[in-house]
């Protein structure tokens, strides 16, 4: 039975220094609760958003890399709903109310021989984090940490173009590699990438799956949901159009209670942020994009005569590819590619398997490449951590304004 699957992927711009609308740190992880907050991101009376220009540029870089068009003028809107993790009780986001004004639209990504359309890319703020939610009626407090509130987030919305869990995984793999190659997001950090999926099977209603916080689980959730809907069809039941939550522990999707009136978001224009002109900047952003993985792969195959499989592996690892490009001469390319892909990356894989087995059971293999999606719950293997931190554009690594804090590097071999 063929399915239609569309994704909404949320990706934090983790390599920025500051939040989207204030000068608190974008890197909120590992801090004591409510210490990475200011009057603005706590929504105190009288504060106004001060848009981070670099966040706009990087969101535009993502949009361009996804083949999107970036409109000349960007606009921001308010999505209104009451929730304890939302300091202003509205989220500043983007919307194409008067024609395209989100940071990107109309892109596409080739996944195997299928084309997945990118309907929209938008820049928005992440809410705070609810660290403990009491369940059932009035029992129990909810505790909120606003350190994350206002962190820059890019939402990528695809068309319903994927046909099964395998394509979903493959698309996410391509997206992950692209974001890493751009250096805009360290997707290995917990919660740096989250995804919702819209799933329907032939003629049936559309079901939205929310709350999936790892790439690994998105595939599982989609698989489960397709099977559930197929079961409905078999038994002559209609699939209800609804939102379902992914239950990580039980590995099923469960119907989420509808939030009745809360679904009316009363979108308003965010007048505190004037329309943002980017037409001048877009050409410059486009010109400074790093070489895409596909182009690198073609180059390795065509110029260096690299085997397809080796070219595939090497091109999608920006740090190794950069190492290779820097060290290659006319003569050493074959040997160099072998050393990197076999010895260096193999060494890493061993480390990683060891790290993973410590806390999340046996590593799983992805269909595309052996090192993908090995660890849960974070989206990517721990290996990609150190090199991509705070490095954009990826070729120049700015010296950090302060020493890295709190999170020890898992990689002693980093050459930065």
């Amino acid at each position: 039975m063929s399915a239609k699957i569309g994704l909404e992927i949320h990706c934090q711009l983790t390599t920025l220094n500051s939040k989207l609308f204030c000068a608190c740190r974008a890197d909120y992880r590992g801090m004591a609760p409510n210490t990475n907050v200011c009057a603005t991101c706590m929504g105190l009376p009288g504060t106004l958003p001060r848009l981070n220009g670099e966040a706009v540029r990087r969101a535009a870089a993502i949009a361009l890399s996804l083949g999107c068009e970036v409109p000349g003028t960007l606009r921001f809107f308010r999505k209104n709903y009451f929730y304890p993790d939302l300091p202003k009780n509205y989220q500043i986001t983007q919307l194409d109310l008067y024609g395209p004004s989100s940071v990107g639209h109309g892109g596409s990504v080739a996944v195997g021989d299928r084309t997945v359309s990118i309907e929209r890319v938008q820049l928005e703020e992440d809410p705070g984090r609810i660290v403990y939610g009491g369940e059932g009626g009035s029992a129990g407090d909810t505790l909120v940490d606003y350190n994350r509130a206002g962190t820059p987030l890019v939402e990528i919305v695809t068309g319903p173009d994927m046909r099964g869990a395998r394509e979903v995984r493959e698309f996410l793999g391509i997206l992950h590699d692209m974001l890493e190659n751009l250096g805009v997001s360290d997707t290995s950090l917990e919660g740096a990438m989250r995804a919702d999926a819209n799933v329907s099977i032939e003629g049936g209603n559309r079901v939205e799956i929310k709350n999936v916080t790892s790439f690994h689980d998105i595939g599982r959730a989609v698989e489960y949901e397709i099977a559930r809907q197929a079961g409905n069809v078999e038994h002559g039941l209609e699939t209800v159009q609804e939102t379902r939550q992914w239950d990580e522990r039980r590995r099923t999707t469960v119907g989420a209670r509808s939030k009745e009136a809360d679904q009316d978001y009363r979108y308003l224009i965010e007048h505190d942020i004037p329309p943002v002109g980017v037409s001048g900047a877009v050409a410059q952003i486009r010109a400074s994009l790093p070489e895409s993985i596909a182009s690198r792969r073609r180059r390795y195959a065509a110029e260096d005569g690299m085997q397809a499989q080796v070219a595939d592996v090497l091109s999608s690892e920006p740090h190794f590819a950069r190492l290779y490009d820097a060290a290659r001469t006319g003569e050493n390319s074959r040997e160099l590619a072998n050393i990197i892909t076999t010895d260096l990356m193999g060494l890493l894989e061993t480390r990683e398997a060891r790290d993973c087995s410590r806390w999340s059971g046996p590593a799983r293999r992805s269909p595309r490449r052996s090192t993908r999606w090995a660890c849960g719950p974070s989206m990517t293997p721990a290996r990609s951590r150190a090199p991509s931190r705070r490095s954009w554009p990826p070729t120049q690594r700015p010296s950090p304004t302060r020493a890295p804090r709190r999170r020890p590097s898992t990689t002693s071999w980093a050459w930065s």
């Binding site: 920025l16 220094n17 500051s18 000068a23 608190c24 740190r25 974008a26 004591a32 609760p33 409510n34 210490t35 990475n36 907050v37 200011c38 009057a39 706590m42 105190l44 001060r50 848009l51 981070n52 220009g53 670099e54 706009v56 540029r57 003028t73 009451f82 304890p84 109310l97 008067y98 024609g99 004004s101 609810i130 660290v131 939610g133 009491g134 369940e135 009626g137 009035s138 029992a139 129990g140 407090d141 909810t142 505790l143 909120v144 940490d145 606003y146 009136a261 809360d262 009316d264 009363r266 224009i269 007048h271 004037p274 329309p275 943002v276 002109g277 980017v278 001048g280 900047a281 304004t401």
Partner: protein
């Protein structure tokens, strides 16, 4: 029939976290005001986005982190370094 019904007023009040008891008292005035707004039908919806002076992305805030203000939590409920308590979610 008024442009907004009594049950609609109560529904919208709930959306805005205004109690139903309070909302009921406002029905006649709200109906009268919304009735007055009907004159906006005089203008159509054609035309693009609202006019507004754009700011160039180059003039926006630079991506620089600053130390968070100390003592902010003194203006808030709860203590610095602690979570904010919220009532439970359903």
């Amino acid at each position: 029939m008024p442009a907004i019904t009594e049950s609609e007023v109560v529904r919208v009040a709930a959306l805005m976290k205004i109690g139903a008891g309070d909302a009921a008292a406002h029905v006649p005035k709200v109906q009268k005001m919304v009735g007055y707004f009907e004159r906006l039908d005089e203008v159509g919806l054609e035309g693009g986005a609202p006019a507004g002076e754009a700011v160039d992305v180059g003039d926006l805030r630079a991506d620089e982190a600053e130390e968070c203000p100390e003592g902010l939590m003194g203006h808030l409920k709860g203590e610095g370094g602690e979570h904010v308590r919220s009532p439970g979610l359903r």
